[in-house]
């Protein structure tokens, strides 16, 4: 591409990215006021409404991802995503970008998510999050118990164990909440690796600073791991949570201090250092 061609392409992607963000905001508002209330009224059963609304959420997010692809903002590839359809699993993922949740929800027909509890005070969004039976990010025991309860009912739950987006160049920090949830519900863990190249929409990177070329997102779904394998007979459960969290850190290619195992750009090959490697289909 010529220099002029490159700068036109760059300007286009800044515009397109901004457009997608605006459409996302307006779309969320519009759908919350129309589609979701209609879906809620379409059935008298709360669990059926939840299912329909979560499916509508998937299609909407699918639309945003396709829009970004068509507009030339991004490309993507998916591996092993059929495993995301199995219910009752704790789906965990690393969190390199702002759109990870959009990408993952677009791939899972029904999944519970933890969302900002502030939304329960938002006049437009409070009802959709209630109808979708999303979980407010309360603290400690209460949050763990709500998450474990939904898994026990056979729903899948999406969690980013880091708690926030990864800061590039900083050690990966893993909260133990995901481990506590999996152990409390005795649910299998389904690890998902997200790779974004070149890095964009990471923490501290404004949306208009688009990368030098359209970013490529790779989603690799690993094999499910029973959480019971982290328990040991006659041992305090708090230790199992630590062991599981260490395993997650190793899975995502960081050692116990959160630093990358190999001094290289984080790649999916790092996961192969862990006994249970993600299957790439």
């Amino acid at each position: 591409m010529s220099r002029i061609g490159r700068s036109i392409n760059h300007a286009w992607r800044v515009f397109a990215t901004g457009l997608v963000f605006v459409l996302f905001g307006l779309g969320a508002l519009l759908i919350s006021l129309t589609v979701f209330p209609l879906l809620r009224l379409s059935t008298s059963r709360a669990d059926e409404a939840r299912r329909r609304i979560q499916r509508a959420m998937q299609r909407t997010f699918r639309g945003y991802i396709e829009l970004m692809r068509v507009l030339g903002v991004m490309t993507y590839e998916l591996h092993g995503i059929e495993r995301l359809r199995e219910p009752g699993r704790l789906i965990v993922a690393n969190h390199p970008t702002l759109i990870d949740v959009v990408m993952l929800v677009s791939l899972i027909p029904e999944v519970d998510c933890i969302v900002k509890r502030g939304l329960w005070r938002n006049p437009f969004l409070r009802w959709p999050v209630i109808w979708a039976s999303y979980i407010p990010n309360s603290e400690g025991e209460e949050l763990i118990e709500r998450c474990a309860a939904t898994l026990r009912r056979g729903h899948s739950l999406l969690v980013f164990p880091e708690g926030t987006r990864t800061v590039p160049g900083r050690p990966m920090r893993m909260q133990r909440g995901a481990a506590h949830i999996a152990l409390a519900a005795d649910a299998p863990i389904l690890p998902v690796t997200i790779d974004c190249d070149p890095p964009t929409l990471f923490k501290g990177n404004p949306w208009y600073r688009v990368p030098e070329r359209p970013f490529h997102m790779k989603v690799i779904v690993g094999e499910p791991v029973p959480s019971s394998q982290f328990r040991r007979e006659g041992e305090a459960p708090t230790r199992a949570a630590r062991r599981l969290t260490q395993w997650l850190l190793a899975y995502y290619g960081a050692n116990e201090n959160g630093h990358p195992v190999e001094d290289q750009k984080r790649t999916n090959s790092a996961a192969s250092t862990v006994p249970i490697a993600p299957a790439v289909s």
Binding site: E139, G140, E141, R176, A236, P237, T238, R239, A241
Partner: protein, 90 residues
């Protein structure tokens, strides 16, 4: 269970054993000025397990409110002492 008033040293020693068992901290890390979250990597969920475990020592459950402002090992010792002071030996 006997609820004799225990000295700070006895409580610290007990706490050291419990923290090593529950959270795999190193015994030498358990000093009065150590911060639970920053120095010992004990989070709010761990604290729930810790409170349950401490019941074995105090003979009664420490209320979460009593534990709310606990930041350091020293704070834990004081919380234990105050619980034991309000539940005289039966």
């Amino acid at each position: 269970m006997s609820v004799n008033v225990k000295s700070r040293e006895e409580i610290l020693e007990y706490l050291r054993e419990v923290l090593v068992e529950l959270f795999e901290v190193k015994p030498e890390q358990v000093v009065p000025e150590a911060n639970l979250y920053e120095d010992l990597d004990i989070d709010s969920i761990d604290a729930v397990d810790l409170i349950l475990k401490l019941k074995e020592l105090t003979g009664r459950k420490i209320q979460p409110q009593q534990f709310k402002h606990v930041r350091t090992i020293n704070d834990v010792i004081e919380a234990i002492q105050s619980v034991m002071a309000e539940s005289p030996a039966a």
